[in-house]
């Protein structure tokens, strides 16, 4: 019945703090089919990285607590897996690229050594490739990310490479053996805009060529617009809006999505909006209602006491907001957009 590659259902990930549990991910539903590209957009601290870390179960076990939810990968619940089964997933099915390439690579081993380890680990259990094969695979992977002279690069230590090169190596490592899903956590954020552009084009070409599904985590609406098919907008641990990329930019519905779009400075000019009123809420004592309601200019009584569900309002376009339900018929408030001639 369920044909999704990855299906996250009502995931809750909390962190233990001295004040109590910080409810960082609060009931996230998300699914991706094989070979598709989706993006998760949200500001820092909204729980996008925590969600993806839960998928690979690479959270700090002492601090993280997952009270509810399931993560189905090919119909198997990752959260219920034994460590050995989980290893199989990490080994063959899902890989992840982190935001900071210099932190992802070990400074005391050469690129080659680290790459060989990844290949050996991924291929373990089968016949096991020979050293020659491993080297060939590594060289091919480095060539795939357009780095000249792969033989020399294999001998290099990470500090001898630039930031862009390091991120290319991380991508090469993530895709050196066939994967079904690649999770990219802000791969271009730490890089310059021209390098970021190159990394994104490379990533898109590689996942298309290898038919790998891609989950792109980013805070930049521009990046997801260029890279992915479907966008999930996340705010304070909730998915607030889901739509196909062109639809989301044509017709953003959630007040937060609209506010976020207004805040992005435009290349075409037109001034800067006033920003979104207020700050990100407290996760330890969250409001029982919509978590965006304290900052929302449309908020009514119902928003403060009841949590809106993610409902489909148009085909393939869902939004978690009472504004689009019967409970909220009148349209009040005003658009926060204050733009002027420049």
């Amino acid at each position: 019945m369920n044909e999704h590659l990855l299906d996250i259902r009502n995931l809750k990930t909390w962190y233990r703090t001295y004040q109590g549990y910080a409810q960082v991910v609060d009931g996230v539903n998300l699914s991706i089919d094989a070979g598709k590209k989706i993006g998760i957009v949200g500001e820092s601290g909204c729980g996008k990285t925590t969600t993806m870390k839960s998928v690979l179960r690479v959270l700090d076990e002492r601090k993280a607590y997952l009270p509810e939810g399931e993560i189905l990968f090919r119909n198997q619940n990752i959260l219920a897996m034994k460590e050995s089964e989980l290893q199989q997933i990490r080994r063959r099915s899902i890989s992840m690229i982190s935001q900071e390439p210099s932190a992802a690579l070990n400074p005391v081993f050469t690129v080659g050594q680290q790459m060989f380890d990844v290949i050996a680990y991924s291929e373990q259990g089968g016949s096991g490739p020979h050293k020659k094969e491993i080297t060939d695979m590594a060289i091919k992977a480095i060539r795939d990310v357009f780095i000249p002279d792969p033989e020399r690069i294999l001998q290099c230590y990470p500090h001898q490479l630039s930031g862009g090169m390091k991120q290319r190596i991380c991508i090469a490592m993530a895709l050196v053996t066939p994967r079904e899903l690649l999770i990219a956590d802000e791969p271009g954020t730490a890089l310059d805009v021209t390098i970021q552009d190159q990394i994104h084009r490379l990533l898109r070409a590689l996942v298309d060529e290898k038919k790998t599904a891609l989950i792109m985590i980013t805070h930049s609406l521009g990046v997801v617009r260029e890279l992915v098919d479907q966008i999930y907008v996340m705010y304070a641990g909730n998915i607030v809006e889901v739509a196909m990329t062109p639809e989301l930019f044509r017709n953003p519905l959630h007040p937060y999505t609209r506010g976020l779009m207004d805040c992005v400075p435009r290349l075409s000019g037109g001034g800067i909006s006033a920003g979104i009123y207020g700050y990100v809420p407290d996760y330890v004592h969250p409001t029982p209602g919509c978590r965006f309601s304290p900052r929302c200019s449309f908020a009514k009584e119902i928003c403060r006491v009841q949590k809106p569900l993610l409902l489909e309002v148009d085909e393939g376009h869902s939004v978690a907001c009472f504004k689009y339900t019967d409970a909220f018929t009148e349209d009040e408030g005003q658009e926060g957009r204050i733009r002027a001639e420049a």
């Binding site: 805009v193 021209t194 552009d197 000019g269 001034g271 002027a340």
Partner: protein, 331 residues
């Protein structure tokens, strides 16, 4: 937001002439004369009331220029004139009036505010040093400084560690404004912040620009942001300025291949913006190390319109139309 170029007059508040800042390479032999040429012959000026955007990739030398103007680096060559006065002549003894008139806001408010002081102490120092108010009015003036950036007055008791990133940056701005400066250098003030917070800070800066009649040198790597706030934009690459133009001209008819590459790399969120990006320019390569700057035009290793002349001869800055300067053989 008011019209930005209202207050623009012709008077230059700051002009930088042939500025060179070299740093010796650590570990290299002194006789080898190896230097990081962070800033390598830069000329520009800022008119009173202007917002000049200085844009470039990391390692292009934009922050080094800021630090040299403010006096944190010693230049190798060149001059910096502030209101006609050469401030580099005697680097150790800069006039107090210069220190009062020129302030800086750093990129990372987390490390530019002392975590062991409270906001009151942080804001008091410039007021005391520059004798802005009599001693008995200091506390009042601190509160006024907070009012100016619309922070609540009870912030005086907080420490930088207990407030958010956006608020910290507002405190930095308040601190810069304490000495009643004429000219503020903003070194990527919003690049570590989220867009919704960035919008607030930028609006605050624009409001203060109008109210206090300030001049800004705005350093950033975000060209979309620059489009919306600056009066003129200068692009830097490997310690040299490639192109300077009034904002509108800069975005509608960029001439330098590097500017075109930068503009075409920006991820945008509407078709309208997509139209503005130069077509057929694909970003390639990376910024080379400033120790071994390529010969001739330093951009030739990444340029898609390279001709034979480029690797041999460094182009000079030319004014192609009034106010629009380009450093390229082809322009």
């Amino acid at each position: 937001m008011q019209k930005l170029n209202q207050t623009v007059t012709d008077s230059k508040i700051l002009s930088v002439k042939n500025l060179k800042v070299y740093f010796p390479v650590e570990g290299a032999k002194k006789s080898a004369h190896k230097y990081v040429k962070a800033v390598d012959g830069v000329d520009f000026f800022i008119n009173e009331g202007e917002i000049l955007g200085l844009v470039g990739e990391s390692g292009s030398g934009k922050s080094t220029i800021a630090y040299t103007i403010i006096g944190m680096n010693r230049p190798r060559e060149g001059s910096v004139l502030f209101r006609g006065q050469d401030i580099l002549k005697d680097n150790n003894r800069r006039p107090m009036s210069f220190k009062k008139d020129v302030q800086i806001v750093f990129q990372d408010p987390g490390s530019s505010l002392n975590p062991f002081q409270d906001i009151r102490q942080i804001l008091k120092l410039p007021l005391r040093v520059h004798h802005i108010v009599p001693k008995d009015r200091l506390d009042e003036a601190v509160e006024e400084a907070l009012d100016r950036v619309e922070l609540p007055r009870n912030f005086v008791y907080k420490t930088p560690t207990s407030i958010g990133g956006g608020e910290k940056q507002l405190v930095s701005i308040a601190r810069a404004l304490c000495s009643k400066p004429k000219f503020i250098i903003l070194d990527e003030p919003t690049s570590s912040l989220d867009v919704s917070i960035q919008a607030k800070i930028i609006n605050m800066l624009l409001k203060l620009h109008q109210e206090e009649k300030l001049t800004y040198l705005f350093i950033t790597h975000d060209l979309s942001l620059m489009r919306n706030i600056s009066t003129r934009v200068a692009i830097m690459y490997l310690g040299k300025i490639c192109e300077v133009a009034p904002t509108k001209v800069f975005y509608t008819s960029p001439l330098h291949p590097y500017t075109q590459m930068l503009l075409s790399s920006i991820p945008v969120i509407s078709d309208e913006e997509e139209e503005l990006k130069p077509k057929k320019v694909v970003s390639v390569g990376e910024i080379p190390s400033p120790v071994d700057i390529p010969t001739g035009c330093s951009f030739h290793t990444r340029c898609n319109r390279k001709i034979d002349r480029c690797p041999r001869e460094d182009p000079v800055m030319r004014e192609v139309e009034p106010g629009h300067f380009v450093r390229c053989h082809l322009a």
